[in-house]
């Protein structure tokens, strides 16, 4: 009797199991797994009118390695990563640490800092573009009072990427700060109590307790910021128009991919660029898996 019931339950698990994962699995299959292989396929083809493909061998990849724009685009992206990631990390750790003290109004600060994280990057980029406007922008007006005149924040190829980085850091910090603060609040108070009995000051506590115990969270934030910055798109798309002198000097990999795929209709070439980006992300992920066990402190 009991055995019969068990096997009936087993069968219903199997039936319902497959039924309940079916819609999601089918959707992911059609819109993610098929596209995944299709990108590889397309990268070896020339995609012409009516999406007819013809075999192109490695020519898309050869073009990519010979394309000076691709190389400058890669350099731009690395530049964004090298500036945006450390600044985001440093500022969000600083703010989280300050909010993790016994000051008043903590939750108000937390809410305000979080606002950029929920606002549309498109809208945010528009206001920053207006602030950084070289002729009518409020920033250049204040700078001119200090004797600094007519900075071409967005139209000078030398400065545009810095302006973009500033805006990107401004957008990132609140979100990462929330994650870091949650990590800090997860650290047991007893560590701090015994440390302050031993006479450790605020700074010693921060470097001796908070930072080491926070390494898993810091590492998580580092990796997610790294991966998202490698894919930077919205801010550049909105702040630099396609006729700008700084267009090429500010272009990221994803933006160059987008332009090839949807503006220059070079879908095969765009696919090769997509694969290049994919390889970069895979390298970061592999690095993450390798390093995680080495220097990240997981015992709490």
């Amino acid at each position: 009797m009991k055995k019969k019931q068990m096997s009936r339950r087993k069968r219903s698990h199997i039936l319902y199991g497959y039924l309940m994962i079916a819609p999601l699995t089918a959707g992911l299959g059609i819109f993610y797994f098929y596209p995944f292989f299709k990108v590889f396929y397309d990268s070896f083809h020339v995609v012409g009118a009516f999406n007819k493909t013809s075999w192109a061998g490695l020519s898309n990849y050869v073009t990519m390695f010979k394309d000076p724009v691709m190389w400058s685009t890669l350099w731009n992206t690395l530049r964004y990563v090298l500036v945006i990631v450390p600044f985001t990390l440093a500022l969000s750790i600083l703010l989280a640490a300050l909010l993790n003290t016994d000051i008043k109004g903590r939750s108000v600060f937390r809410v305000i800092y979080f606002i950029p994280a929920i606002t549309m990057s498109t809208a945010i980029s528009m206001i920053w573009r207006w602030i950084f406007n070289s002729d009518f922008g409020i920033l250049n007006f204040f700078l001119s009072k200090l004797g600094i005149r007519n900075v071409l924040w967005l139209s000078d190829p030398k400065t545009a990427w810095i302006t973009i980085s500033i805006v990107a850091v401004w957008m990132n910090v609140g979100y990462q700060m929330i994650i870091l603060l949650a990590g800090m609040q997860g650290i047991s108070r007893s560590y701090y109590e015994s440390a302050s009995l031993d006479g450790a000051g605020r700074f010693q506590q921060f470097f001796g307790i908070t930072l080491p115990l926070l390494t898993p969270t810091i590492f998580f934030v580092l990796i997610t910021t790294l991966i998202s910055t490698f894919q930077i798109f919205d801010v550049i798309y909105m702040m630099i128009n396609s006729k700008s002198l700084a267009k090429e000097a500010s272009q990221s990999i994803v933006l160059y991919f987008y332009r090839n795929a949807f503006e220059y209709s070079k879908k095969g070439y765009a696919s090769a660029i997509a694969i290049f980006l994919f390889v970069i992300i895979m390298v970061i992920t592999a690095f993450q898996m390798k390093v995680q066990n080495k220097w990240v402190n997981y015992d709490q």
Binding site: P23, Y113, S121, A123, F220, M238
Partner: protein, 278 residues
């Protein structure tokens, strides 16, 4: 003792100074957006700049609706966001429950395979996704805005973690009472998973409301654009009329700001959760 307290106060003052400058840097762009949206065009481009509008005008807020189909864009964004959130909550939670609690052959292999999606940047899929939508003859339609986003490996992963942390006793009891696995999921486990569902809903809403690239690609007719694509379009078209663009931008960000004001705790905890789980 006294000097220690003094030192502490001094420390606090420095902390407050840093925190308040952070607040200023965070809020000033929004304030400038609001002030600009209340100015006339000539006031906005005056040199030297005027900080406060002499006579605040609201006409920019109505002009946006005249110059672009802003109402349609609003509606499209709402539909797309609501459908995306609802579908993800349903499809992800259903699959997540099966992956966490039901036993069937190949379960773990299928799950691990689906997770592979998380390692691939989302723009990687976008070109073939566009071609699929094109083949389905859905370009420039509302469904094009949300179809690929209905399915989320991340959401399934997040909710599976959640279901795994729930005790199995309740289900065993339900099974003895003759509840089918689906009914157990629907009636018993789903209500228990509410915090997880709220987190996923918030993360998905934030994404669906703010996403730019996908709507930009699939829908090029103004009537079918979302707010993000609409703002990008406006900037390309009326790039000199800053007050009007700022009015559009203000209206585009307000719904999420209001939701955030009401549900701040859930928003912040939802985000913090992803960090802890990761």
């Amino acid at each position: 003792m006294n000097s220690k307290a003094k030192k502490r106060n001094k420390g606090h003052i420095i902390i407050y100074i840093v925190l308040f400058s952070g607040v200023l840097i965070t809020l000033l762009p929004f304030i400038w957006m609001l002030l600009t949206s209340l100015k006339t065009q000539s006031e906005a481009i005056r040199v030297p700049p005027v900080i406060f509008p002499a006579k605040p005008v609201l006409s920019n807020y109505t002009d946006v609706f005249r110059d672009v189909p802003f109402g349609r864009m609003y509606l499209n964004t709402i539909i797309s966001a609501v459908v995306t959130v609802a579908a993800q909550l349903l499809l992800c939670s259903m699959a997540a429950y099966a992956f966490a609690k039901l036993e069937f052959p190949g379960r773990d292999i299928i799950f691990m395979t689906l997770l592979a999606v998380l390692m691939v940047p989302s723009s990687f899929f976008i070109l073939p996704q566009y071609l699929i939508i094109q083949k389905m003859r859905l370009l420039n339609t509302i469904p094009a805005l949300f179809i690929p986003n209905l399915f989320s490996a991340f959401g399934t992963f997040l909710l599976r973690q959640f279901f795994m942390s729930l005790p199995s006793e309740l289900e065993d009891a339900a099974a003895l009472d003759g509840c089918s696995p689906f009914m157990t999921y629907w009636r018993i486990m789903l209500p228990l998973a509410k915090p997880g569902l709220v987190s996923l809903g918030i993360l998905t809403l934030r994404f669906a409301w703010n996403d730019l690239m996908w709507p930009l690609i699939v829908n090029t007719s103004r009537e079918k654009m979302t707010l993000t694509a609409g703002l990008a379009y406006m900037q390309g078209q009326y790039h000199t009329n800053y007050p009007e663009m700022m009015a559009g931008a203000m209206m585009a960000i307000i719904p999420l700001l209001i939701l955030f004001a009401v549900f701040q705790k859930q928003f912040i905890e939802g985000i913090a959760l992803t960090g802890i789980k990761g």
